[in-house]
Symmetry: C2
Subunit: 338 residues, 2 copies
Amino acid sequence: MKSVGINGYGTIGKRVADAVAAQEDMKIVGVTKRTPDFESKMAVQKGYPLYISVPEREELFEEVGIKVTGTVDDLYDEVDIMVDCTPEGIGAKNKEIYKKQGLKGIFQGGEKHDQIGQSFNSFANFKDAIGADYVRVVSCNTTGLCRTLTPIRDLCGIKKVRAVMVRRGADPGQVKKGPINSIVPNPPTVPSHHGPDVQTVLHGLNITTMALLVPTTLMHQHNLMVELENPVDVEDIIETLEKTPRVTLVEAGKGLGSTAEIMEYARDLGRPRSDLFEIAVWKESLNVVDGELYYMQAVHQESDVVPENVDAIRAMLELEDDPAKSIEKTNKAMGIVG
Amino acid sequence: MKSVGINGYGTIGKRVADAVAAQEDMKIVGVTKRTPDFESKMAVQKGYPLYISVPEREELFEEVGIKVTGTVDDLYDEVDIMVDCTPEGIGAKNKEIYKKQGLKGIFQGGEKHDQIGQSFNSFANFKDAIGADYVRVVSCNTTGLCRTLTPIRDLCGIKKVRAVMVRRGADPGQVKKGPINSIVPNPPTVPSHHGPDVQTVLHGLNITTMALLVPTTLMHQHNLMVELENPVDVEDIIETLEKTPRVTLVEAGKGLGSTAEIMEYARDLGRPRSDLFEIAVWKESLNVVDGELYYMQAVHQESDVVPENVDAIRAMLELEDDPAKSIEKTNKAMGIVG
């Protein structure tokens, strides 16, 4: 039973904590927070030992009666691996600390690939991470692209991918971000960074991306145009995606015609926090015309990378060397059936 | 001075009325309404003779003190051409009435091309409409595509266009439409109808489109990927678009990084209703990679087709046979400098 620490118990951190706690071969020995907010309180209620990341702030936690187990320095001694879920840019700085402590570390997609040195997606390059010390799980958007492009590439080869990513403006709880009533090219330059990010795990893939923000909080939406190397029927693509774990086909004709309806479905599934870990692909959108595959998919930005974090732990701590087996273990423990 | 009637004084109709009234070679002799709402009242205040489209409803107008000049049947006798701006699907039925009356008619993009028989865009196929009896001005999205694709095709040839259209969910005044917090593939099938619609005016263009709705009211946003026939520098494209009428280059770096900021700019321009008749192309987005041009543009869905309606009148009534001259006349009268 390996010991995992979560540095930064926020949007991703709290989800990874629950996912790790659900596994049979790893456990949570501590999570860190810098603010004594509702998340800190709930971490303690769930039984996760709480360590504060800024020692001088211990008083703030005491004042509101939140029990602190120690500081982040104490946590370093307890863990086999730290999953760093701190805000963008902090992870790269923390890497230096982990190095000094002789600790393995997993980072999130907000960090730069070059600063961490290696990126990860369970489907694209699990084996590269076996025994590795520092690995970055690619962002929610990149994870979404890898989930569906990897099986398609394996099925029939890919000449070129063009993707337009319509991104949610903010997460549901982020009340200070926009836009409210606007479409924002983000970045306004083309191509966006998502293509090169996919290439950090799907090496050599020819992919160009454009990205924008829109006023919604629920999911990202991707529009894909994939020139294929070998001719294939749309039925072959459907069959392949249907048997791909963490990908679920949804039908507009059955009431799942939008990101809002898909998240309503996730609520009905009864998952923790009403998350949808799977990438939802609209079945109706799948079409092959002149050797080019078109499809649309939706990505739950708060949760799709969570099972990938669990797989990364397993690869780095050499708990499993077969990606399919790790994916199966993670999914089973998390209740992912898609 | 030719006499123009507007059948349906709503979102498009009221704008076409003002644009026609501003021209030197045509005038508004009447507009029709079926409901005695604020738009009816304002039409009378502006001096447009008001005709009611449902004679039995005359009492409703009398009750609220709105002066009615007659019914739509009376208007038929007054006009050289009718611009039909009635809701989607009604125009095709009205065409039969205009035919019986021996009247020319212009229809909007909501009507089906096959039912009207001929479609129109000032840049793509003005000359086809010279002397024509029935012409459909293509939709706001299609007009936006034609405005920028026509000069690019003329400059360097186009092998294939892929476009993803991120459409506003509703117009600013449409309080009953959604979505509020969702991204809606619309249609969920690929390709969307926009490609074939472009082909009704840009004959033979190889174009595939995908479309969705997002929760915003201000503008549509288009993401274009254009495989070019002949090599060209991005500077050549910029120069071409800069000299294309009704296209304006905007820069995110100068505070115009979103549809909201572009419409704020339109408000500062002092145009009627704060409309932006031009297609706004983000300068930073223009890029040529491996013979493929990428760009992003924004389309003011309520107004971009308005100058096209004026040009269509001029072509059909043979007031002008040179598209460039008609465009120049229309633009000058409407204050379009982009």
